[in-house]
């Protein structure tokens, strides 16, 4: 189950995620993001600092989010990634599609 807080920042919406980005717990997140895109948001940042787990469904969600925002000329960024997750994203070459940042 993933908890989140969506924050309006300067030119983007920041989703601060907390919990497991896994199958079966992302419905609310998905709906919230869809609403933001419908309201004209083009840039979305996913703050992954407190994401403890991510599975293929989580990868699928991020990919879908990316595809949705690309359709509206937008983009996503995933920030505060742990080293493991960062490497995982690189292995999947997700970094060639959207911006990923490792936490410092």
């Amino acid at each position: 189950m993933i908890n989140f807080v969506d924050l309006h920042e300067k030119d983007h919406v920041r989703f601060v995620l907390d919990g497991e980005l896994v199958a079966g717990g992302m419905d609310k997140l998905r709906e919230s993001l869809k609403r933001h895109i419908e309201n004209g948001v083009q840039k979305v940042v996913f703050d992954m600092e407190r994401v403890s787990t991510l599975d293929s469904a989580g990868v699928g969600f991020l990919a879908a989010a990316h595809n949705s925002l690309v359709k509206v000329n937008g983009s996503i960024r995933t920030v505060q990634l742990s080293e493991e997750m960062y490497n995982f994203f690189v292995s999947l070459r997700l970094n060639t599609h959207f911006n990923i940042e490792q936490r410092t």
């Binding site: 998905r30 599975d55 293929s56 990868v59 292995s91």
Partner: protein, 1030 residues
């Protein structure tokens, strides 16, 4: 299971690493003409290690093996020239690999950065500009069917080609293939990263759809993966089915050499391209943070120990099986025979069983045998490294690498031999400049030889270095308090040299990295003793040293002689048994003698010390009274008879009274067989002695059982065994028993002949052999001969009753043996020779006949049988009686006026000269010469006796004349003692010797010898004495 697989892999790695050192050294030696087959061999070893390490995720080993493989490939393809530096780096790398493989639990902590860096530098220095430009280009690779192709960066392809890596295309459905199998995608990808490089990932992100679409239930990624893992292992390594893996690059498919086992052609693989359209179902949750280990994590958390293994060929196993089968048959026959109580069948079965068990034992023993080359093979590298460290040129010869020994003994030999080789290189072989000065080749040679002899294995380690100075060893041992002066006195050179085995003894001037801490040779000896081995040393100063190690073939089962002593049984290892003697009671008085206070047995002219076995072990001796049949205590303290002959310590027979002689020849009281004496002649190294025992039984093969720790200090026992009847027999340690008996080297002196060829001059003299009349052989000391001239009969003149000849413008007096002795006249019609010598400062010629020859011999002169004026004794050469000529006596007889001219110098009367000479013959001769010169002579037979006499007659003795080589105390030792004693330090000392080489003189001068004189030159000796005393 995993542990077992890993263990097998580590064992295999060790096998790969065996022999790599010698191969690399051979590659280095071949230089430009590199043997590609040899390089291939080493390359394949590195390659196999690398591949297995990758599979088991042993990253350190994998990386290092990989780098060495790269360099080896460059060598074999000619891209890199072999140099000592490159070989050093490779040797170092393989050493590190070996270390990691032998200590798998610590391999992660091993720092391989320097080796990797060094190897990488070699590779980098050979990368061309062309290769560097390939970074930005890509190559299209496809599977064999061509249905699947991808672009792969050219640099990756080139790297794969260079480093023998494969490139695969692997498809994963992250959900179905990984997460639903209970694994973590992240962990899987991390694991792949450790085994290889994910060159690229093909992920159809658009295929996932948008937020408006139903979430997909499969995330398919395709990895372009570069790895060393081979096609037959890739499925297991990456945990994907074969349909999901395609090999799109095989480095071996381009190579001509196909002897590499992994040089398979590319597999035809297809993979399922169809994405999974089923978007229903629930994705299986996999916790990213799970610590679940991938199954390619070959290393378990438990410590891994590499178990000992031995390679056995299948034939040997077949033989074992056959014998096992025979054993079963024999057992069945035995059981059947017992059940029928058939004595004949029992006997037959027992014989058969005996035979089969012997065969089986032999076969089992064979499985443990390994070639000694396994130990020898490490020495070429070691000597090479020592050569550099010590800055000496060293050659190592190895012979007998195929000689086989028990595995345990092989393993135990490594340390002692290593130390001995180091010592030979460090202390034995001189520096190049020293060797050149001595006229030796600049390169020192160390030889390691193994050979079979008499049921055991001999290992000889020899060098042609400076030899061991036994005096220096003895002095050092004495100064360190390791031995007393008293014990030193009784020691021969061999004993003194053997002192190097004392703990703490090192005569090295300084401790070097190589050797010199003084903890080596005693440990060497102990290690060898534990292996049942004996070590002996032969050495000659200036020439070299030979260590001989004698080892049993196996420690576990040894053939032994079973002996009985009172009610007890003992086993003496056959390797120590020289011969068995039974001295009939009537021969005791002749065969058993007493030398000093030691009983000896005469065996073919040699005197061998004997000890009563029961006395050594503290077993009370008994005997059965023949009259009463009762068991009585044997109160005799000696084995030898009271009538037995006695000798003094110098070997001379004591003169006995007529009464004793009468008793010796009279009727024997001891006539019964029970009075016979049984002696086992036993050897331990060069030491031989006789054990007097009650009874000797048969030889049996016994199983050696170690004694308990509480028996550890009992040096006389080597172990114990259980006999066929269940009883226990103790196994004798021949060396320990000798130590207990206090036997040193009474017999060692006889072995001086064994090292005579090394020392070259011990006890030898050069004799001129000629004939007086046909068949009448004569000998003259060569030192007395000035010239030999062949003459015609008509050159012999008789003028005024004097025989002479014209010689070099002067008249040369001629004499012959018959002028003084009862011998034939030289027949003038035969081929004549004149032996020119000098007596009383005049040249004279001794007539004789051809042929003339020179013999270098140890000889013993009988001064009794043929003794007469002109003949000082006789000896037997090649079954001929040869008479020793005393030319001085002949001259004295023919020209008595020459002697009276040199009257006893009145000034010499009352002057006492101390003479030390062990040979009775020479002692008598020299005493006579000195008496002729007018001197009083105190004659002694060895240096110790001379020292004692000197102290007794300190106010009388004015000069010492001494032989060099003597038992108990040599002439040099005597001189040293004289020089270090304030009372005698200025006493002149003349050394009498037939050794007159520069080296010997130097040795003599070093200890304070005043002058050297040849033994048999009366006039020069007396002149020399006169000169010194004036």
């Amino acid at each position: 299971m995993q542990d077992s697989l890993l263990n097998d892999f580590l064992v295999e790695c060790r096998e790969h690493l065996e022999g790599i050192e010698s191969d690399l050294l051979a590659i280095e030696e071949s230089g430009k003409n590199v043997d590609s087959e040899l390089v291939n061999k080493v390359f394949r070893a590195a390659h196999s290690i690398k591949g297995g390490a990758a599979f088991f995720n042993l990253s350190q080993i994998k990386v290092l093996a990989h780098r060495t493989e790269t360099v080896l490939d460059m060598i074999r393809s000619g891209k890199l020239q072999v140099s000592p530096e490159i070989i050093n780096i490779l040797l170092n790398s393989f050493d590190t690999l070996r270390s990691m493989i032998n200590n798998p639990d610590e391999m992660d902590s091993v720092d391989i950065s320097s080796q990797v860096g060094a190897l990488q530098e070699i590779v980098d220095n050979s990368v061309t500009e062309k290769e560097r430009g390939s970074f930005n280009r890509s190559t299209r690779l496809a599977d064999l069917s061509g249905t699947c192709s991808v672009n792969v960066p050219e640099i990756d392809v080139k790297t794969a080609e260079k480093e023998f890596q494969y490139i695969y295309l692997i498809e994963y459905d992250l959900l179905h293939d990984i997460e639903m199998a209970g694994k973590s995608s992240l962990m899987m990808l991390n694991s792949l990263s450790r085994m290889g490089i994910i060159v690229d990932t093909l992920f159809d992100i658009e295929g996932v759809g948008t937020l408006d679409d139903e979430p997909v239930n499969s995330i398919v990624v395709k990895l372009i993966y570069r790895t060393v893992v081979e096609p037959d292992l890739i499925e297991t390594a990456v945990e994907a089915g074969h349909e999901k893996i395609v090999c799109i690059y095989n480095p071996h498919s381009k190579k001509e050499k196909t002897d590499d086992t992994n040089a398979d052609t590319q597999k035809t693989e297809t993979f399922n391209d169809a994405g999974n359209d089923d978007k229903g179902g629930e994705a299986h949750t996999a916790n990213l943070s799970q610590a679940g280990s991938s199954s390619v994590e070959g290393r378990s958390k438990n410590p891994v120990t590499v178990t000992e293994t031995v390679r056995i060929n299948v034939e040997a196993l077949d033989t074992l099986m056959t014998h096992a089968g025979e054993l079963v048959l024999s057992r069945n026959q035995l059981i059947d025979a017992i059940s029928r109580n058939d004595q004949k069948a029992l006997k037959t079965s027992a014989q058969r069983l005996n035979f089969v068990i012997s065969e089986l034992q032999e076969a089992v023993m064979q499985t443990r045998l390994q070639p000694i080359g396994n130990v020898f093979n490490k020495f070429p590298r070691m000597v090479r490294d020592l050569s550099k460290t010590l800055n000496k040129e060293l050659h190592l010869n190895i012979e007998g690498k195929d000689v086989e020994l028990d595995k345990t003994i092989i393993e135990g030999l490594s340390d002692p031999l290593t130390h001995m080789v180091r010592n030979a290189a460090d202390h034995g072989i001189e520096s190049q400049s020293e060797r050149t000065k001595k006229g030796k080749p600049a390169a020192g040679t160390i030889t390691l030889k193994a050979f079979h002899e008499a049921g055991h294995v001999n290992i000889e380690l020899s060098d042609d270095g400076k030899g061991i100075d036994s005096e220096k060893i003895a002095d050092k041992a004495f100064s360190m308090g390791l031995i007393t002066e008293e014990k030193l006195r009784g020691m021969t050179d061999y004993d003194k040299t053997s002192l190097i085995f004392l703990p703490g003894l090192s005569t090295a001037e300084k401790v070097s990295e190589t050797s010199g801490r003084g903890v080596g040779m005693d440990v060497v000896k102990n290690n060898l003793d534990r292996l049942g081995g004996k070590v002996s040393i032969q050495s000659a100063i200036g020439k070299g040293t030979v260590f001989n190690i004698k080892l049993p073939l196996t420690l576990a089962i040894i053939p032994s002689l079973i002996i009985h002593e009172e009610q007890e049984r003992f086993a003496i290892p056959q390797v120590n048994v020289i011969e068995l003697l039974r001295i009939p009671s009537v021969q005791i008085k002749d065969r058993l003698q007493i030398v000093g206070d030691t009983e000896v047995v005469v065996v073919r002219g040699e005197l061998i010390p004997i000890v009563r076995f029961a006395d050594l072990l503290g077993i009370p001796k008994t005997y059965i009274d023949p009259n009463t049949g009762n068991v009585e205590i044997d109160r005799r303290s000696r084995v030898a008879d009271r009538r037995s002959k006695r000798r003094s310590i110098d070997g001379r027979m004591d003169v006995v009274s007529a009464e004793i002689e009468q008793r010796r020849t009279g009727k024997d009281r001891r006539v019964r067989a029970a009075s016979d004496v049984n002696i086992v002649i036993v050897s331990s190294g060069l030491l031989q002695y006789g054990l007097v025992v009650d009874n000797m039984r048969n030889t049996e093969e016994i199983v050696v059982k170690p004694l308990g720790t509480h028996f550890k200090k009992m040096q006389e026992y080597a172990g114990a065994t259980i006999m066929g009847d269940g009883g226990v027999a103790l196994i004798i340690d021949a060396t320990g028993l000798a130590l207990k008996a206090g036997i040193t080297s009474v017999s060692a002196a006889k072995n001086k002949g064994n090292i005579a060829d090394l020392s070259g001059s011990e006890g030898e003299h050069s004799l001129l052999i000629f004939e007086n009349t046909p068949g009448e052989c004569c000998a003259l000391l060569l030192e007395l001969v000035l010239r030999i001239e062949q003459i015609a009969a008509n050159q012999v003149e008789y003028k005024g009753g004097i025989r002479s000849m014209q010689y070099r413008g002067k008249s040369l007096p001629l004499v012959q043996l018959s002028d003084a002795a009862n011998a034939g006249d030289v027949p003038l019609e035969k081929e004549l020779v004149v032996i020119v010598t000098r007596v009383s400062n005049r040249e004279i010629g001794l007539l004789g006949l051809m042929p003339v020859s020179v013999e270098e011999r140890n000889f013993i002169v009988d001064t009794t049988i043929h003794r007469q004026p002109g003949i000082c004794g006789s000896m037997i050469f090649d079954e001929k009686t040869v008479m020793m000529i005393d030319v001085f006596e002949i001259i004295d007889k023919v020209y008595p006026e020459w002697k009276t001219e040199k009257k006893r110098d009145e000034r010499n009367v009352g002057t006492t000269v101390l003479l030390a000479e062990d040979s009775e013959f020479f002692r008598e001769q020299v005493t006579k010469y000195l008496n002729d010169g007018g001197y009083n002579v105190i004659a002694t037979s060895d240096g110790m006796e001379a020292w004692e006499k000197l102290q007794e007659h300190k106010n009388e003795v004015k000069l010492v004349v001494t032989d060099i080589e003597m038992p108990v105390m040599t002439g040099l030792e005597l001189c040293k003692k004289i020089r270090t004693d304030k009372t005698f330090s200025s006493l002149p000392v003349i050394a009498l010797t037939s050794l007159a080489g520069d080296e010997d003189r130097e040795k003599g001068l070093a200890v304070g010898i005043t002058d050297y004189q040849v033994k048999f030159d009366r006039d020069r000796l007396n002149e020399g004495i006169k000169r010194l005393l004036s």
